[in-house]
């Protein structure tokens, strides 16, 4: 029983016996101790200890990068580090948007605009409804007065609506074209 407890306390839960996995040599398994990394470490040590070697390595690498980008550069491509950022940099955030100045109207143009009479706003939905109502009313009156046979009322409704719509549209276009005249 005491042995069992000591096994738990030791934390060694691997199986003992013939089917137990082979013990792992942790020191040998560490990647950075492999011969390949030993070469890297030697280079690192050299770079850290020899400033001239460091400078030479930096220059060598820069030459390689420049050589790789030269053809692209000639074609107008920017290096990744030269690319414009997607968003405005902090120093540009304090500048007003360039479109504001472009939208400012000239004073003379403003003076001219002030002299023109204004027009009222007729929402499009209202316009359509008004035209439709007038058409329906005209048709109903025509049918009531017996001017048109009742069987023609559906056709007449469409016709009158179309005529009134066109008159309203033409009137609006005329007003837009002759905007300097008073609405009256």
């Amino acid at each position: 029983m005491r042995e069992l407890h000591s096994w738990h306390e030791r934390g060694d839960h691997a199986r003992h016996g013939r089917d137990a996995p082979a013990p792992v040599d942790n020191a040998a398994a560490r990647v950075h101790d492999s011969p390949k990394h030993a070469a890297h470490d030697a280079l690192k040590r050299k770079m850290a200890s020899d400033p001239e070697a460091r400078k030479a390595e930096v220059l060598r690498y820069r030459t390689l990068v420049d050589a790789a980008y030269e053809p692209k550069h000639a074609a107008g491509h920017l290096k990744p580090q030269e690319k414009q950022p997607e968003h405005a940099p902090p120093e540009a955030r304090d500048k007003p948007a360039s479109k504001i100045a472009a939208r400012e109207d000239r004073l003379e143009s403003q003076q001219e605009e002030r002299r023109k009479p204004q027009r009222s706003w007729m929402p499009r939905a209202d316009m359509v409804q008004a035209v439709s109502n007038i058409g329906m009313l005209a048709t109903a009156l025509a049918v009531a007065l017996g001017d048109v046979p009742a069987k023609w009322d559906a056709v007449a409704a469409s016709g009158v609506t179309a005529v009134v719509s066109n008159i309203a549209w033409a009137n609006r276009r005329w007003k837009e074209k002759h905007g300097d005249r008073s609405e009256g």
Binding site: D94, P96, A97, K99, I100, R103, Q118, W121
Partner: protein, 171 residues
């Protein structure tokens, strides 16, 4: 925001008088409209001003944008008695901010400042091919369309705006 027709008509009349610097006619229009219509004109002015600020900045206006807009609007041809600082405060704190007009301006400025600022903004920044009242129509139409449009459309609209802007730059 749904546009109140009656308030809109009164607001448009007052804006026209303000723009032409017809201050006596403006005072008469205010008297005729009554207090109720005047109070309903303020949200319309706030809406129009905020729309113009966003429209001309082509983004949500930064502080620098608002200073620039205020500077240009203050020198408008209307020659109304409103300063650059007042327009800036009005835009940043009320039209695009969360404060109320009466929290920011004195009682005398509650109606004139929104009206004067909106008149100046409309005249200064209307698109070249539009009269100021047509620009106002555009603003109301846009507001009514936005009122009935789901916010889920916004990313798609941003995408479309971005693509069209890129296409224009490419031309």
């Amino acid at each position: 925001m749904a546009i109140d027709r009656k308030a809109e008509q009164a607001t448009r009349t007052m804006l026209g008088h303000a723009m032409r610097n017809e201050l006596d006619d403006l005072a008469e229009a205010m008297r005729t409209a009554g207090n109720d219509a005047l109070l309903r004109a303020i949200p319309l002015c706030l809406l129009a001003s905020a729309y113009i600020a966003i429209d001309v900045s082509d983004r949500w206006p930064t502080d620098a944008d608002l200073h620039d807009i205020a500077k240009r609007a203050a020198r408008s041809a209307t020659e109304l008695d409103i300063s650059e600082e007042e327009i800036y405060e009005y835009l940043s704190r009320v039209a695009l901010g969360a404060e109320k007009v009466d929290d920011v301006f004195s009682a005398e400025g509650i109606v004139p400042i929104p009206l004067y600022a909106t008149a100046n903004l409309l005249l200064t920044f209307r698109p070249r091919d539009k009269h100021w009242w047509e620009y106002l129509n555009q603003i109301w139409d846009a507001a009514e369309t936005a009122e009935h449009t789901s916010l889920t459309v916004l990313p798609a609209l941003m995408l479309r705006a971005r693509r069209e802007s890129a296409a224009q730059e490419g031309e």
